[in-house]
């Protein structure tokens, strides 16, 4: 009980800290709010001292940050979130409207994501249900490619091809159900691909558990075995699903922009840039609340799905039989990537020739040219080193932090929720406020968010792993906590989390590039991959190769990471043999599972 109270207290403390941090933002970054508000109202207005003084008086920021914050919090108690500093409109209805649109978009996107994840797992499910999984490698390159596609690229392709050229669905606006389809696809496909990969990663383990064999032997249909296998694996993914829910609600800026959706992502982005503190605080608070709700919901769902087994320590370890690791596929992907980079490296990435702009691929320019006539192959090749080194370094750090914090879920879970619910731009601004705008700031800003899903994944896997019989057995044999951690828990948890981190590596590269407009990160004419995508996006329709080239190498990177990580399994010597893994537990598990079938997923 007292633990729960402490958890709630920690959560509230974080939320309060966040709101106060936002309230202090202008003073921490030494950026005058009157100035940014003026620029948001009218970019061309000269910032003369008189104008700024007038605005400062209008906003009431003369009294300093504490005065402003106290005033806002006082209003909040009375249910008044203040007025927007830019427009003077009431914040509460404004943010509520935006939140409504975003929640709806997220809801439909989640549906798309779940369907996508289902399609990705279909092959494993079908084979597993027929007990033919043994000896087959998981595929997964396709889903890895999908997972590494940037949302804005999917969005612009859908808007142009389906919306404009085919005219099947409206390409713009937010006026009814048919308007939700394309944006939801743009958000849901990559998210679903990540979830699908993670699920597909766990499923073979579930099918390999003794209960599945027993169920099949007892004559249960493949369908219900598959359903139980999904039910067995989903709890480990629920925290990540919760993170997606919140992330898609507050961070869908690019998709909102392409489809002109009046959502929370754009609202908070504008407020963050203009330092419109009341809107920013209200928006962030709403997202933090949503995060708390989502976490609560995922906990309840997890309990419904694995409750008794988790409590009784009656799970078996979710480790698939050793797959014959794909030796050839990663080699092919790796060789392809290296070849592209090598060929690109010998060409000049910065040579402009505006007469040659937007040329289609040819012998002279195998990947075509960009809007300034630069050779794209050269740019892709030269960008590889920067992009990969930085993104890999950040991913590694995020993995380390994620696993470490994931080991102490009581401390990290509220932290994960809070960090994840803060819009990325705001994180960047807060990091800049603390660390200054040095060379390391963009990496810090991206890293500050990147560890969160990994920590959530770690702690959910850990929760399940702790409930397994072999841990109970080890404990019974006198293993101390350190021994358990080193020899039982970590070896079981780290490989899937590592694969997860690799899956997110292209996303890290994109996140880095998205901070460029704050003056953080790579600046043109650097050929960093994220920047390549961003600068060629306006030409996506006229010169598709200009975005396809960087998107393709990112996708190749994703495929390489996933296929190479297929070999990263738990060391064979620690893997319990199926028969020794507690037949009794499996029996009990399958009985409870049959009894509670209505609550199952699938």
């Amino acid at each position: 009980m007292w633990q729960r109270v402490a958890g709630a207290g920690w959560r509230i403390l974080l939320a309060v800290g966040l709101v106060c941090g936002i309230g202090l933002l202008p003073w921490l970054t030494h950026t005058d709010p009157a100035y940014t508000v003026l620029k948001a109202r009218s970019a061309e207005r000269e910032p003369t001292p008189e104008v700024l003084a007038d605005i400062r008086q209008q906003l009431g920021v003369d009294g300093g940050p504490l005065h402003v914050l106290a005033g806002w919090l006082g209003g909040l108690v009375r249910g008044d979130a203040g007025q927007s500093w830019i427009s003077g409109a009431d914040v509460l209805p404004y943010v509520t409207r935006a939140l409504g649109a975003s929640l709806l978009l997220m809801g439909v996107a989640l549906l798309v994501a779940v369907l996508t994840a289902g399609v990705i797992c279909l092959r494993t499910l079908r084979l597993g249900a027929r007990r033919r999984l043994g000896g087959r490698r998981s595929g997964g390159s396709g889903s890895a490619v999908l997972a590494s596609l940037p949302e804005f690229l999917v969005a612009s392709v859908l808007a142009t091809v389906v919306g404009v050229q085919l005219g099947w669905l409206p390409a713009l606006g937010w006026y009814g159900p048919q308007w939700t389809v394309l944006p939801a696809l743009a958000l849901g496909l990559p998210a679903g691909a990540v979830l699908g990969r993670l699920l597909d990663d766990l499923l073979p383990g579930a099918f390999g558990e003794p209960w599945a064999l027993a169920a099949a032997a007892r004559g249960l249909t493949g369908r219900s075995v598959a359903r139980q296998a999904v039910r067995r694996c989903v709890p480990a993914l629920l925290p990540n699903l919760g993170l997606f829910v919140v992330g898609l609600t507050g961070g869908a800026v690019a998709v909102e922009q392409v489809f002109d959706i009046p959502g929370l992502g754009r609202t908070t982005l504008q407020a963050a840039l203009a330092q419109d503190l009341p809107v920013l605080q209200a928006g962030t608070l709403a997202l933090v609340l949503l995060a708390a709700l989502a976490t609560g919901a995922t906990r309840v769902a997890a309990r419904l799905l694995t409750g008794p087994a988790l409590r009784d320590g009656a799970l078996s370890s979710l480790h698939r039989p050793a797959p014959p690791a794909g030796r050839l596929l990663p080699l092919v992907y790796g060789a392809l990537l290296v070849a592209v980079v090598m060929v690109g490296l010998v060409r000049d990435p910065l040579a402009l020739d505006t007469g040659q702009r937007l040329r289609a691929p040819s012998l002279e320019h195998p990947f075509g040219t960009d809007a300034l006539g630069r050779d794209l192959l050269a740019r892709v090749g030269h960008g590889a080193l920067d992009t990969l080194l930085l993104a890999a370094a950040i991913s590694a750090a995020a993995l380390l932090v994620g696993v470490l914090l994931g080991l102490v879920p009581r401390v990290s879970a509220p932290l994960v929720d809070t960090v994840n619910s803060v819009p990325p731009v705001l994180v960047a601004l807060l990091v800049t406020a603390v660390a200054g705008s040095g060379a390391a700031t963009p990496a810090l800003a991206v890293g500050a968010v990147a560890w969160a899903p990994l920590a959530a994944h770690t702690s959910s896997l850990l929760r399940q792993e702790r409930a397994t019989l072999h841990i109970t057995a080890s404990k019974g044999l006198g293993a101390g906590p350190v021994h358990l951690l080193r020899h039982e828990l970590l070896p079981a948890v780290v490989p899937p989390v590592l694969r997860h981190a690799l899956l997110r590596l292209p996303g890290v590269a994109l996140a880095l590039a998205s901070l460029g407009f704050l003056g953080l990160g790579a600046q043109p004419p650097s050929p960093e991959w994220g920047l390549l995508l961003a600068e060629n996006q306006p030409y996506a329709e006229r010169a598709p190769w200009a975005v396809l080239a960087p998107a393709a190498v990112l996708a190749l990177l994703g495929a390489l990471a996933v296929s190479a990580a297929g070999g990263l399994r738990r060391p064979a010597r620690r893997r319990p043999s199926p028969t020794a893994d507690g037949g009794e537990g499996a029996e009990r598990r399958s009985v409870t599972a049959t009894e509670k079938a209505p609550a199952g997923v699938g």
Partner: protein, 503 residues
């Protein structure tokens, strides 16, 4: 078990009524309802690029939006030559140094009340009291009084030769008494004088307008306007292509090629993209190096390639949209001799990405300067994160797109603010006695033609200092559906829909 499952699957349907609240309202009218049942003039569907920032307050940037949609008018307007033309004021005369008399025409507000001198005086007085003051009134003190039946008398604290131009600013639009009824907020909905009347505003998403039948300039042909605010240029172009829109404002150059040739109309604007060189610190403090930079730039590339022909090569501070400028232009005065850049001359070049072409321009500038022997480091940020540093002189060079006629329509104003020692927007950090004197001379002249001559003399001095290298004069592309006629393509970007616009 199955019977238990059904209702659970149906449960989400209960959320459907709730969902309706999550969609944006308005703007979704399809063309059927937009055609107007009364058969005289269809409604126009217009997409504007800038959403209202301040709840359509007439004192900020939203003023332009109101005047572009034909909602508000001032006492005067700008004509094609950039001189003041009659609008709500039929005529005016200067009475001594500081007094002006404006004679009003017979007009009514959209709420039915008459446009009386008292109403005009009250409206303008509110504008002078606004905090912060509208940009057109920055540094100006004026008092407005009704004087007789049809006459408004404006008195300025200092002689102001460009007052009629100043009053053409959209932020000095005339609104009826009721617009000011709600405390500090000014509400233009139904209280203006233009051919279209705002009826509904949905935040920053859309607005509906109806024709104002008693407009003094005659009834508009379109029965109303459904305006949507779409910030993303690609999205605007897409909406036009799918037939969701009749008029799309400011189509980005990158999207122009995706529109039919008949659909895209381009107009020269008063916006000039220039390279500003920091004349008071860093490498470009040396006029010889500024001259070298100027000489290194091949400006033809920008208009032809980066802007794909939707721009004119930089000729001076004023472009072809300022129609009188070309005929009065004189050669730059006092240029320094070109010096060869040394090895240590690393310069920082900055620009912003709010206009997508600028980073491209900056990258071409970088390459051209590097060819001439400079070492260039480029910085690209969002504008509001950049301007402060630029005004403080932290960059050696800056690529800026600047409206050269500003809020007043007075050509001298931009010279005074951008290139004089005391100028408030002096990114070039230019402080040159000759320039200051030439600008001060021009500011004193009341006669339009002579003022223009003096402005061009000052321009020649400023160009002579090489603190600014004009790169291109932008053209704005408006996407207009085939069926639409009479769109007003205004180089000053103050009007878009007029009484003659129809489809």
């Amino acid at each position: 078990m199955r019977s238990h499952r059904r209702p659970r699957l149906l449960a989400p349907l209960l959320l459907v009524p709730l969902m309706a609240g999550c969609f944006a309202s308005g703007g979704g009218d399809d063309s059927a309802s937009g055609d107007g049942g009364d058969g005289d003039g269809a409604r126009l569907r217009v997409a504007l690029a800038f959403p209202p920032a301040e709840n359509l307050s007439p004192y900020g940037a939203d003023a332009t939006l109101l005047s572009r949609l034909g909602v508000t008018e001032g006492l005067t307007a700008l004509d094609a030559n950039g001189s003041a033309a009659p609008a709500l004021a039929e005529s005016w005369r200067r009475d001594g140094e500081k007094d002006w008399e404006f004679t009003l025409r017979d007009a009514t507000f959209q709420d039915g009340s008459d446009v009386t001198p008292a109403a005009v005086a009250a409206s303008l007085t509110r504008a002078t009291d606004a905090e912060p003051a509208p940009a057109a009134l920055a540094g100006v003190t004026l008092s407005v009084k009704a004087s007789g039946d049809r006459v408004v008398r404006v008195t300025t604290a200092e002689p102001d030769p460009v007052l009629p131009l100043r009053l053409s600013s959209p932020s000095l639009a005339i609104l009826s008494k009721d617009a000011y009824a709600k405390g500090s907020r000014v509400d233009p909905v139904g209280h203006a004088t233009g051919p279209f009347e705002l009826t509904e505003v949905n935040g920053a998403a859309s607005a509906s307008l109806d024709r104002f039948d008693d407009y003094w300039g005659g009834r508009a042909q379109a029965s109303g306007i459904d305006a949507r605010f779409i910030a993303d240029g690609t999205a605007r172009a897409n909406a036009l292509r799918t037939g969701e829109l009749d008029i799309a404002e400011a189509v980005p150059v990158a999207q122009a090629a995706s529109l039919d040739e008949k659909t895209r109309r381009d107009t020269a604007t008063t916006r000039t993209t220039s390279l500003l060189l920091n004349a008071s610190s860093g490498a470009f403090e040396d006029a010889g190096l500024r001259a070298a930079a100027r000489q290194a730039l091949d400006t033809s590339v920008f208009a032809e390639d980066v802007y794909e022909g939707y721009a004119d090569p930089g000729a001076g501070i004023y472009g072809p949209a300022v129609t009188w400028a070309e005929g009065k232009r004189t050669a730059p005065v006092g240029r320094a001799a070109v010096k060869k850049p040394g090895n240590g001359d690393t310069i920082t070049l900055a620009t912003y990405d709010n206009r997508p072409e600028l980073p491209e321009v900056a990258q071409v500038v970088k390459q051209q300067l590097e060819k001439a022997g400079f070492t260039v480091k480029l910085t690209v940020r969002e504008y509001s994160r950049l301007e402060g540093d630029a005004l403080d002189g932290k960059f050696d060079a800056f690529v800026l797109a600047r409206n050269t006629l500003l809020d007043t329509g007075d050509p001298v104003a931009v010279l005074a603010s951008d290139y004089t020692c005391d100028g408030g927007f002096n990114i070039a950090q230019l402080c040159d006695k000759g320039v200051d004197r030439a600008v001060a001379d021009a500011e004193k002249i009341a006669d339009t033609a002579k003022r223009q001559d003096a402005a061009m003399a000052a321009e020649a001095r400023i160009l002579g200092s090489d603190a600014v290298v004009p790169l291109v004069h932008q053209r704005i592309i408006t996407g207009v559906a085939d069926s639409v006629q009479g769109v007003v393509l205004d180089p000053y970007e103050r009007t878009l829909v007029g009484t003659g616009t129809r489809r």
